[in-house]
């Protein structure tokens, strides 16, 4: 993903970014094993609310989607579905090795290799799994990026929608979920 480094926001956008950076709703979706470090991050030990972040149940009101590790194809379909339900500006933070290059599941038939082929990733966090300190630092970094207008993954997704869709279809076959199939 090539990001345009130039800051071409207008004043209103800058103000908007400033406020949204200080109040981020994280979507409550445990996509993979990195989610196990989210409870400590959210609760009293690390207390992510100090950053103005809190969990949000519905995608429509959430700002940031955490991809906490590997994604099976089955989950990726749902993740794309719920990412597209989110309102712009929306951000993706990818946790751990698996989102970057497949992780230990590099040769698995069920999990994807790299996330940025299917969804625009704003920030990667290293670790398998990342410690709460790293997660907190990642959020802090994201906040900085939003303030500076650098977290523009969602724009990239809009502009390159065809490319993303093609990749999604290539790997998944179908993105539309037919939930009745197994009943």
């Amino acid at each position: 993903m090539v990001l345009d480094e130039k800051d071409n926001r207008n004043v209103w956008e800058k103000i908007g970014d400033y406020f949204s950076a200080n109040s981020i709703w994280m979507k409550w979706y445990c996509t993979g094993c990195g989610a196990i470090e989210l409870p400590p991050t959210m609760t009293s030990r690390y207390d992510m609310e100090r950053l103005g972040m809190g969990p949000m149940a519905t995608p429509r009101q959430a700002d940031v989607l955490l991809i906490t590790g590997y994604l099976s194809t089955k989950t990726l379909r749902r993740v794309i579905y719920s990412y597209e339900q989110m309102n712009s500006p929306r951000f993706i933070v990818a946790f751990g090795s698996c989102t970057i290059n497949g992780g230990i599941y590099y040769d698995s038939y069920a999990t994807i290799g790299r996330l940025d082929k299917y969804l625009p990733v704003d920030l990667y966090i290293a670790g398998c799994m990342p410690r709460p300190e790293v997660v907190m630092n990642g959020f802090n970094e994201l906040i900085k990026m939003i303030k500076k207008g650098q977290a523009k993954g969602w724009k990239h997704y809009q502009e390159n929608y065809e490319w993303y869709k093609k990749n999604q279809l290539d790997s998944l076959g179908e993105v539309i979920i037919k939930d009745e199939f197994h009943e």
Binding site: R45, S97, G102, I104, Y106, D122, L123, A126, C128, R131
Partner: protein
């Protein structure tokens, strides 16, 4: 069962208001992230000084995260590869198995864990000892003896302990199947041994074949680069073992004995099939080889695989050169030599024995009869040591003595003349061969042995292999190391002893051989027979005058170009001791090289 309490009962938790909070402070997260534990498995650190580039980490990695990257700026060092592991944190699971298995102990996990970036490429890096951001975090998880994943101790073979010096029985028994499997399982397939081997043998591959139980495949690997596997499986100088990755923290793999296990334990039909699988029809030309030592045999075999007719000229009655007449029976039994030479003969190499080039047939004649000629004549003469008394009849030389002993054991000649007390001058492997042969012959003849040895070098810098020294001393050789020969004392026409003097230094400031002695510190080693084993030299009587003029000879060795080809005489090739030396495996390598060179030369000439 718990009774329901009032909704206000948890109110006592307010007491925590005044206690230290459990929450990690913001400054401990953002400004200076909390320090990880002493064993933390964070990002990798790799000490480049120690790293061998063996790639064991990349093989064990369950996530395929480690790639060996060639680093061109590293200098070439024997036993090291100029490759270093790069880690993909898009794969790594921080399991630290790579750390536990690292043969050089260079890898460690640091206590650094923080890396956040929008650029996925920054998650792939080549660590040095400062870690991912160059911040030199303290080491976290390191290997210790509990988490060791290598098998560092050698599975020893049994030696014949008692009665070994009274016979010429082979000392080392060879691996049992069980132990060979255990020993071969230790290998980490790094291939550093291959780089160190003069013949570039496919060592990891044949060890793997043993481990997989594919003996035929193992023999095929052996014959790819070495047709003297039986011989080398017994008396190779095993430079491979000197650089073995496992040798850095433990004991090197017994590569030589595993090779011997292959040749001793492959059924003969499979062995023959594997050894001869690459031999082809002789259609491309005719090549003469002078001397049937290791280089000649090797050259002959590989020429047969390349499709040439080969005649090997040998001065003595039996082909083999040093392997037939040099190495002592207790280390290199006749049957092994026969197996190798037999296989080369089966490959279609023709031996013309009792024919000395330069005496019975001239080199010029060979040139006209053949397309190319290979010289592998070796260092066939003993170098005389001109100290007072050296011309006495009881002063013997290593090479004829060892050859006579082999003939005696083959029952083609009488026992060499041995006295009850003898002294050997020299401290190399050949000197020990002579000394230990003497011990056995004395035991056979007198039922007792008395062999002394004098060498310039001190015990810990002797040029021989350590096994030779240890086994020799076990067999009762009396070593006087650090003493040089002064004169051979003669009384009434008989030798009465060897006077030696203490050595102060062997080399002068220019590192040239120039021993200095303490003339006052001398004593006499009691002996009635003296053997000189201080070196060998070549014989170049077969060169004609123009050749002698054109060919440059330095320190006894001829100067040749690539493939052992003489620059001025493109039809003539050379290898073995007269080119490189001084061991069998180098000879084999030279022979193989020359075979390829000859092939190129003849093909070019024919087209």
């Amino acid at each position: 069962m718990n009774k329901e309490k009032s909704i206000f009962s948890p109110i006592k938790a307010w007491k925590y208001l005044l206690r230290k909070p459990i929450t990690v402070l913001k400054k401990d997260i953002f400004d200076k992230p909390r320090e990880a534990s002493l064993r933390y498995r964070g990002f990798h650190q790799n000490d480049w000084e120690k790293c061998l580039g063996c790639g064991t980490c990349s093989k064990i990695c369950p996530t395929n995260a480690i790639t060996m990257i060639e680093v061109s700026t590293l200098e070439d060092k024997e036993g090291y590869k100029n490759e270093r592991p790069a880690f993909d944190y898009g794969r790594c699971t921080f399991c630290a198995i790579c750390v536990d298995i690292c043969p050089s102990d260079s890898l460690a996990m640091s206590r650094e864990y923080l890396h956040v970036s929008k650029d996925a490429d920054t998650f792939y890096f080549l660590p040095d000892s400062t870690g991912i951001h160059g911040d030199s975090f303290a080491k976290g998880y390191v290997r210790d003896s509990d988490s060791e994943l290598l098998d560092l101790t050698r599975y020893e073979m049994e030696l014949e302990p008692v009665g070994r010096k009274t016979s010429f029985m082979e000392i080392v028994k060879g691996y049992s199947l069980e132990r060979a499997l255990a020993e071969s399982a230790r290998c980490v397939e790094c291939g550093i041994c291959t780089d160190a081997c003069p013949a570039k043998m496919n060592i990891p591959e044949y060890i793997k074949s043993i481990w997989e139980g594919d003996m035929k495949g193992a023999v095929e690997y052996l014959y790819k680069t070495n047709p003297l596997a039986n011989v080398c499986g017994r008396i190779c100088t095993h430079m491979c073992e000197g650089v073995c990755a496992l040798g850095h923290r433990g004991e090197a793999i017994s590569i030589r004995w595993l090779k011997r296990f292959i040749v001793d334990n492959t059924p003969m039909d499979e062995y023959e099939e594997a050894a001869l699988s690459t031999v082809t029809e002789a259609v491309n030309g005719k090549v003469a080889i002078v001397g049937s030592g290791p280089s000649g045999l090797s050259c002959g075999y590989y020429l047969r695989t390349l499709g040439y007719e080969v005649d090997i000229y040998e001065e003595r009655a039996l082909p083999g050169g040093v392997i037939r007449y040099g190495g002592p029976e207790y280390r290199l039994p006749e049957k092994s030599v026969l197996k190798d030479i037999g296989m080369i003969e089966k490959a279609g190499v023709n031996f013309i024995t009792n024919t000395k080039v330069g005496r019975d047939i001239s080199l010029d004649e060979l040139q006209t009869k053949y397309d190319a000629v290979f010289l592998g004549t070796g260092f066939s003469l003993s170098r005389p040591l001109k100290i007072p008394g050296y011309e006495h009849k009881d002063v013997g030389y290593a090479i004829p003595f060892l050859a006579e002993t082999r003939d005696y054991l083959r029952e083609t000649s009488d026992m060499p003349d041995v006295h009850e007390k003898a002294v050997v001058i020299g401290g190399g492997n050949v000197a020990f061969d002579v000394g230990r042969t003497l011990v056995r012959l004395q035991q056979v003849k007198y039922g007792a042995d008395f062999v002394s040895m004098a060498a310039l070098e001190h015990r810990d810098i002797l040029p021989c292999d350590i096994e030779e020294l240890e086994e020799g001393e076990e067999e009762g050789i009396r070593g006087h190391f650090g003493y040089g020969p002064a004169e051979i004392l003669i009384e009434d026409g008989k030798i009465s002893g060897l006077r030696v003097k203490k050595v102060i230094s062997i080399f002068d400031e220019d590192k040239r051989f120039n021993p200095k002695y303490d003339e006052t510190d001398t004593f006499v080693i009691e002996a009635t027979q003296v053997f000189i084993a201080t070196g060998q030299m070549p014989e170049y009587a077969f060169f004609n005058e123009t050749m002698l003029e054109e060919i440059e000879i330095a320190k006894g060795q001829v100067k040749v170009g690539k493939y052992g080809q003489f620059n001025k005489f493109p039809w003539l090739f050379a290898g073995g001791d007269i080119v490189q030396g001084p061991d069998i495996i180098t000879g084999v390598a030279n022979g193989h090289d020359a075979a390829e060179g000859i092939d190129i030369y003849i093909r070019a000439k024919n087209n």
